[in-house]
Symmetry: none
Subunit: 409 residues, 2 copies
């Protein structure tokens, strides 16, 4: 069953506010089993509100709207709806009484502008507002069921869950099921190529992609005659997707890459130490953002200056002078040094050139040496990342965490 | 001059992602002087994309679109546009060459799916992408100028500023001017109370707020008969706003808090050392994300385990055992320890309980001790932050950086 979300307000069309209401409603409607085909924002202009409602009413079954129900002069939704469906507005006595009680309880007087919130298009289905003054309402526009709610997120969410959901639940067709997988290690185009033909092999399945640097999220959406059948189809297609991406899928939508790496370290009963230079604390931040990091992370020595590498990690000044701070030798010495001072089982180090300054022909911006030191010895990997300073830092941090994961696996 | 923003992607209609692109573009277009009357999101469905473009083209002069230009099967924008304007797609050799160079530089092969990003509707005005593989393009749809850009925010923003703005600037009626100020240190409601009456004192000025935890951005938008007059009005109102918020405004829209703190340290010719525990590297990451950090940051010792505090910073085990790792005494010892080993002028330390575990009645979750050590001695501040783990980490990092700024001022 198709539906649309309409948000009304010039503060939104001007970009003064991020439209989290649209995201919240679209997600809730999708979870209910609706197919949300359009989210629209229009400014506070009655003719545009009316025209948009008529247009949406012709193409979807349910329209969920927020905004423009308050007491001020820019709140035009009720009038616009009445004009769109060709009725007058009438004042509802029960709603007026509820507004009066609420206003008087707050020690204020009932003004005409507050009273006008009890006006509704004739014949509307009134939605009470237990947490604010402006009630909502439902009407039929161009054949679609349309529901109007205040724009305040707290009031809107409560009204949607308590009153709109019971009215639309039976219209939803839960014949879709989706699984979202998180991948790291391949660019989007290669992930897409790996999955070429999956949609054809599993009719009813649509594969979607979302890039969130440096990760690619893969979405497997299945539609079938029933929710049961959709879930079963989704499971089969997801098994195929996982098999084709087995080297890069690290978890599902609730996982983070650093969280998964941390879990691998902890589950092996190992401890971790880190020495960072170009990434400047980012690896430590990613690891410690997740709860439970204290169970395995001993230390992250961000030895930015050469003197810090010598003093904290005991690296021979001659090694730095001879090879440069960005070198395989210094990366190895950093990993070994932080492992020695912390007595950790596994140590990761990163040293590189994030830019915008500091590059050379021999070691251009984006050059990063990553070392892993364990009881079995030390290995150093040289990487070259494209992008700006922050992208190089993020790419290096992910590459370092990936090496930790492989070292502990 | 009217315009509309169109964002394409099923991840948006389903509410899997907050549509920050629409907000960014609407705000940028408003700043340019356009009247943004509608923001639309449609799913990855070619006929819907085409129908929406035709509809918008009939009612606005400029349409700015993002999304659906990538290499995967759900990227349908180019085909949909070609069908909307009744032309074929043709491959552009110069764009193909640029994609090839970019792909080969990253050590990958040019595949057909990547090459397809060089396909454009016949006659399109190509917008090069210096920071990604998918170029954008401009066409005329139902009489409106329509521009299509990738959905990746970084690529979209760069393409909009470098290439779309020069093409549409002359169409805008610039009778508005806006200044955006960044503040740290007061909640949104208090910032609003401080600015009560400013709009009344400067008719034509609208004050807007945007919370970006823990910062509040204040926008001063002025409209007048000409751009000159709007700028002059905006300047006068902004002077008043700055005066009322002088203790919390730290910079303008292009500044970051860590960047400003770093600039203060560097301009004084001082060096900085950090010792973090509960913030786990976040302070170092914030500082080193900005170019130039190597000029003043010597080290950030993320001493997560107690053993690391002892080994790297030389903190007496008895101090940790006697007062607990989260204590004023340990915070002071961490700051003094990292200052001693690094020989930095100023040292910052943070130790606290970010949760979700580890809290107690005496030291609940959110308790953070922050110390500053200089040649003049050591001061410790005890803070209690609300929120979840990540919010506590961010709030503590900001508070620590703010203390560094004040110590160096």
């Amino acid at each position: 069953m198709t539906c649309a979300v309409l948000c009304i307000g010039t503060e939104l069309t001007r970009g003064e506010l991020v439209n989290t209401n649209a995201t919240w409603l679209a997600s809730a409607l999708t979870d209910l089993g609706f197919d949300v085909i359009e989210n629209v924002v229009v400014d506070d202009e009655a003719s545009r509100i009316a025209a948009t409602l008529e247009r949406l009413g012709r193409s979807v079954r349910v329209i969920v709207c927020t905004g423009g129900l308050g007491p001020t002069t820019d709140d035009l939704t009720t009038q616009a709806v009445a004009s769109a469906i060709g009725v007058k507005t009438v004042r509802d006595e029960a709603s007026l009484e509820a507004i009066r009680r609420r206003v008087e309880k707050a020690g204020r007087a009932l003004t005409e502008s507050l009273s006008s919130q009890a006006d509704f298009p004739q014949g509307a289905d009134i939605l009470v507002n237990p947490v604010g003054t402006a009630p909502g309402f439902g009407v039929t526009v161009s054949g679609a069921s349309a529901f109007f709610m205040p724009g305040v997120p707290r009031e809107m969410q409560r009204m949607f869950e308590d009153q709109v959901v019971p009215r639309i639940r039976t219209l939803a067709t839960r014949n879709a099921h989706q699984v979202r997988l998180r991948t790291y290690g391949l660019p989007e185009s290669v992930v897409g190529e790996r999955l070429a033909g999956v949609e054809e092999s599993f009719p009813g399945v649509v594969i979607g992609y979302r890039a969130h640097f440096p990760e690619i999220e893969v979405k497997v959406l299945a539609r079938a005659g029933s929710h049961e059948a959709a879930r079963e189809l989704c499971d089969r297609a997801t098994t195929e997707v996982r098999a084709r991406l087995s080297d890069v899928v690290y978890g599902d939508v609730d996982d983070t890459f650093a969280g998964i790496v941390g879990r691998v370290v902890r589950n092996k009963g190992l401890t971790l130490a880190i020495a960072e230079s170009c990434t400047g604390g980012l690896v430590g931040h990613m690891i410690t953002r997740e709860p439970g990091a204290s169970e395995f992370l001993l230390v992250d020595a961000v030895t930015y200056a050469n003197s810090a590498k010598t003093r904290l990690l005991g690296i021979d000044e001659e090694v730095i002078r001879g090879h440069g701070a960005v070198s395989a030798e210094v990366a190895a010495a950093m990993a070994e040094g932080v492992r020695r001072v912390s007595e950790a089982d596994v140590a990761l180090s990163l040293t590189g050139i994030a830019g915008p300054g500091g590059g050379s022909a021999a070691k251009p911006i984006g050059t990063v040496f990553i070392a892993i030191a364990t009881a079995d010895g030390t290995t150093v990997t040289e990487k070259h990342f494209p992008g700006d300073r922050h992208q190089i830092q993020i790419a290096a941090a992910y590459a370092g965490l990936d090496l930790v994961r492989r070292a502990c696996a």
